[in-house]
Amino acid sequence: MSTIHERANSIAEELSFLDRDERFEWIIDTGKALAVEDSFTDEDLVKGCQSKVWLKVWQEADMLRLSGTSDALLVKGIVSLLLEIYNGSTTSDARAFDFIKWLNDNQISLSMQRMQGLEGMLRRIQSKA
């Protein structure tokens, strides 16, 4: 199993070949590619998001498990990144990982409203980690 940092670094490497415009397009593609197998209820909705975001977070054998989606494509792209990075990480790694800094380091800029929504998602992850 890879660690949270290995997974984050491997995505960052993929992104490093892309310019700003391409990163934006990449998020759209990532959103489109997210396969949603789970089903969600209103309980899974994350508050404070402009678009609807469903996120489930649970622990399995001391590892964090996530599933989620959104009705908006760009947000779905962000959710997809969250899932890819956090899924399978140890709880202590998840607690220590700074996703917002990672986004900034990789020049993925979000509007203020998106940021607020994202903070809700991260709070949910932290509360289960």
């Binding site: 934006f24 759209i28 402009q50 678009s51 908006a72 494509l73 760009l74």
Partner: protein
């Protein structure tokens, strides 16, 4: 026109279609604000030196210009922070005084939250009842229903002149005449009217008119309440402090005459002076030719949007509106807004401070494109290209 606006010089690629949210500022407005801070930044109404007198003079000159532009007396122009604050002042200080529990206040189903929540607060405090004219299936104002409610007996009527969501201009002249005939005092929310139409307050026949400086190419932090003087004079202030008093004793105080009665404390002097410059700019540029040009531009916006398959408008858009809100099947409004932003096209996304209306239209969030003085053909062309691409990509 764009060359008058530093925003466009500094952002040459910007396609700004969010005028209804806030308008860009011409150089003359920026210069007026800057001049005050650079040359005569004294306080007003308490000057015993030249710098203060100059500030005072510029401040009251701005009030005079605004009064002349709207065809009212200088003492009928009250400075407030914005439309919202001006509305709350009328609600609390005028309507609050005449209302009895169970009295009705007439609103419409298309109001901005500013012209809704201020009345909800008053209703909670006084036991007044709010009644709303309905919105028809097309998202339009229902004049017949409004008249019916008016005739049924209301103490006050407040309505927007132009919806910030659908762009519809209400038949305010007829509405005001009907209200006057029944002796019902009225307030017009002019936030979306004043950027596009010069208003003659007396001819219009309303009792109060409110609007925001920042939407008419002026600074933020300044809005205006225009009210008939006899009514302003009946109102008690709801914010107390310096500048608004006549005599003060520990046992009580008497108040200044309007408008100073409602301008407690040091006002946003620079913004008032900037607003005076914005009024000059409007006076020069809100011509019949400009009106026709804006209608042509709006037609262009609508043509661009109508070419998109699966587009649905909120309300019933037409070339005489200055904005259009819409949703596109299979594309989330937030995605569309973000995509357009990537292509330098600035539009509004969301519920537009009108949750009840969006709910009525059955949508969660919408996109709004709004035009203004500087909108030109290149803006329209870029909107058309960007939105076509956006829909292809996001569906």
């Amino acid at each position: 026109m764009k060359q008058d606006f530093p925003l466009f010089t500094h952002n040459p690629d910007l396609v700004y279609l969010d005028y209804a949210n806030t308008a860009p500022k011409p150089q003359t407005v920026i210069q007026a604000v800057c001049d005050y801070y650079t040359h005569y930044s004294g306080n007003v109404h308490r000057a015993n030196h030249d710098i203060g007198s100059r500030a005072d003079h510029a401040y009251e000159t701005a009030r005079h210009r605004i009064a002349t532009y709207f065809g009212v007396q200088q003492n009928e122009v009250v400075f407030q922070k914005n439309t919202t604050e001006a509305l709350n002042l009328v609600a609390q200080s005028f309507v609050g005084k005449l209302i009895e529990p169970g009295d009705k206040i007439l609103l419409t189903g298309l109001e901005h939250h500013a012209n809704l929540v201020s009345w909800q607060l008053l209703a909670a405090r006084t036991g007044a009842e709010l009644v709303f004219s309905q919105v028809d299936e097309d998202g339009c104002f229902d004049e017949q229903h409004w008249l019916k409610l008016l005739i049924s007996g209301v103490r006050f009527a407040a309505f927007t002149a132009v919806s910030n969501v659908t762009g519809e201009r209400f038949p305010i002249e007829q509405m005001l005449a009907a209200a006057r005939g029944l002796g019902v005092p009225t307030l017009i929310d002019g936030a979306q009217l004043t950027p596009h139409e010069r208003v003659d307050f007396d001819k219009l026949g309303a009792d109060f008119l409110v609007f925001s400086g920042h939407k008419i190419y002026g600074p933020t932090g300044i809005g205006v309440l225009i009210g008939r003087y006899e009514l302003l004079d009946q109102m008690t202030p709801w914010i107390g402090g310096g500048d608004m008093i006549d005599t003060v004793h520990l046992s009580g105080s008497t108040f200044q005459e309007p408008p100073l009665r409602f301008e407690a404390g040091t006002p946003p002097i620079a913004s008032v002076i900037g607003l005076g410059a914005a009024i000059d700019y409007l006076e020069q540029h809100l011509t019949p030719e400009q009106h026709e040009l804006e209608s042509t531009m709006m037609q262009g916006v609508l043509d661009a949007l109508n070419s998109i398959e699966g587009i649905h408008f909120l309300g019933d858009p037409d070339r005489d509106a200055r904005l259009a809100s819409f949703v596109i099947e299979g594309v989330h409004s937030a995605d569309l807004g973000a995509y357009l932003n990537e292509k330098n096209v600035a539009v509004r996304v969301g519920k537009m401070c009108a949750h009840p209306l969006l709910e009525r239209c059955g949508v969660d969030s919408a996109v709004r494109a709004s035009i203004g003085l500087c909108t030109d053909q290149s803006d329209i062309d870029q909107l058309a290209t960007a939105i076509t691409k956006a829909v292809q990509r996001l569906r």
